[in-house]
């Protein structure tokens, strides 16, 4: 039995950013689930994401100390799905829509976290 979130996290802990793909439709799926949205196709397999993406939308969450500001982005993956993440390696207010980014797995709070860095 497919365990979408648990399997995805196990892959991430192993250093791999995986997404799902339907064998019949070829469509890529993120976040992980038991069937492709829209088609209901259940023939999902794990494939390694290219890690390439483009910033689709961005906001900066403002804290009392500007040094603590951080960005929240939506990234369009090269494979098609969109996800929420953060761009590291740039000041928060330098992250712009259209920026080409690459996935990176970091440790945050003792758990692996998928973020992006400028490509």
């Amino acid at each position: 039995m497919l365990q979408p979130e648990a399997e995805w996290r196990a892959h991430l802990a192993g250093g791999r950013f995986m997404i799902q793909r339907s064998r019949s439709t070829g469509g890529h799926v993120f976040y992980p689930r038991v069937a492709e949205p829209g088609t209901g196709a259940e023939d999902l397999e794990w494939v390694e994401a290219s890690g390439e993406g483009v910033v689709h939308a961005v906001t900066v969450v403002r804290k009392k100390d500007p040094a603590d500001n951080y960005n929240v982005v939506l990234v369009d993956l090269a494979e098609g799905p969109r996800l929420m993440s953060r761009v590291d390696g740039l000041p928060a207010d330098r992250v712009a829509i259209g920026l080409k980014v690459r996935a990176r797995i970091i440790e945050e709070g003792d758990t692996p976290l998928l973020v992006f860095v400028p490509a």
Binding site: Y31, R82, M84, I97
Partner: protein, 387 residues
């Protein structure tokens, strides 16, 4: 031509409408407030509590709120709903109640809501789970989601922060005409722009209030409506669309489900946007009326920012939008959708006081829930306009 989907145009009407406890309502519970608003709306209609046989509510902190309010009021409703489409739930209830009334399943629907988060802060654990796919990135819920949509709209269409601020300023100008509105101080575009930035591009003045308030409406079939205390307001159309739950799954960040619900509701009513006198749009954040003006057809996609500029939706402007002061300046206790309907009814009855729109015969109330996730449009008309 959009199908009308068999909506019973004009065959059910809102006959009672009321608000209660707007602003600060300390010392009582949310269900107390909903009950007070319900009784005020029934009195407004001239209908007794015992006539109610359908109950629609969305309690703020009680997942089983439908049963809670039925018990509280001593009702035995044959339809009870406590749906979870957020602030749009109340527009959805109008749709569902109109259908159930027309089918003869029920004779009198009560739609009620109360919440006092300002006086009675909500419990730490809410009724919604955090998305495992978003929470690790610490977006502020829900403002960052709306900020992301705003960023996209600005990128694609050149919408500016000044244009967003115009929405807040127009709401405030309307609020200044509404004695019930919670915040009535003057507000300028510069003050909105200079307010504390929370989640770019939205400052604290781009965000709705989080205060106390309750509201209720009563619906019956058109034949019964003629015998009520005040002029009935027929429901001419009502449609709903859900597109996603979390912002990362929104199909297009600049096109909401209002682009589906709006055309359907207008088609049911046999009307077009240009016919509408009063436009009530859920303004959780300043970006939302801009998106809804576009998606509902009041202006082309991408033109919303320019449309609201120059006081166009403020008192004396070209289009009367959010005449009660909106969620931005009147009331927003967590789920605001019912207050849109009450204000539309007041305008169509000619009972809106200093902010009354002359010859107001047609109105829409457009509710939003989640993070632009659920969109529901109700078209209302005076009995004269309903034909």
């Amino acid at each position: 031509m959009t199908m009308t989907h068999g909506f019973p145009r004009g065959r059910a009407a809102i006959v009672g409408a009321a608000t209660f406890g707007i602003g600060k309502c300390p010392g009582i519970s949310a269900v107390d407030m909903a009950a007070k608003a319900a009784l005020l709306a029934l009195a407004d209609a001239g209908i007794s509590l015992s006539e109610v046989d359908a109950l629609y509510t969305s309690a703020p902190y009680e997942a089983l709120g439908g049963m809670e309010l039925a018990e509280y009021l001593g009702l035995t409703p044959e339809i009870t709903d406590c749906n979870r489409t957020g602030g749009s739930a109340f527009e959805v209830y109008v749709q569902q109640a109109a259908l159930a009334l027309d089918a003869g399943l029920i004779d009198c629907a009560l739609i009620a809501y109360g919440s006092n988060p300002a006086s009675n802060p909500p419990p730490g654990v809410g009724m919604t789970r955090q998305s495992p796919w978003e929470a690790p990135y610490r977006p502020l819920a829900p403002i960052s989601s709306y900020a992301l949509a705003a960023s996209r709209h600005m990128h694609l269409y050149g919408t500016t922060r000044e244009q967003l601020a115009e929405v807040a300023v127009a709401a405030r100008q309307w609020a200044r005409l509404n004695p019930e509105a919670a915040v009535r101080d003057p507000l300028t575009v510069d003050e909105v722009l200079g307010a504390r930035m929370v989640s770019d591009p939205l400052t604290v003045r781009d965000c709705c209030l989080f205060n106390d308030g309750a509201a209720a409406i009563v619906m019956v079939r058109a034949d019964r409506a003629r015998d009520c205390a005040k002029a009935p307001i027929p429901v001419l159309g009502a449609a709903h669309a859900v597109t996603h739950r979390e912002i990362s799954s929104m199909p297009d960040l600049t096109v909401t489900g209002a682009a589906i619900s709006g055309p359907q509701a207008f088609a049911q009513a046999g009307l077009v946007p240009a016919d509408i006198d009063v436009v009530m749009l859920y303004d959780a954040f300043t970006i939302t009326p801009i998106l809804f003006l576009e998606d509902l057809g009041f202006c082309p996609k991408g033109e919303g920012g320019r449309f609201v500029s120059g006081g166009h939706i403020a008192p004396g402007g070209g289009l009367a939008v959010n005449t009660n002061g909106g969620g931005l300046s009147c009331v927003h206790p967590g789920m605001y959708g019912l207050f849109l309907l009450v204000e539309a009814v007041r305008q169509l009855r000619g009972a809106a006081g200093e902010r009354q729109i002359a010859d107001a015969h047609l109105a829409i109330a457009h509710g939003n829930g989640g993070v632009l996730s659920s969109e529901a449009t109700v078209v209302l008309g005076s009995a004269q306009a309903a034909g």
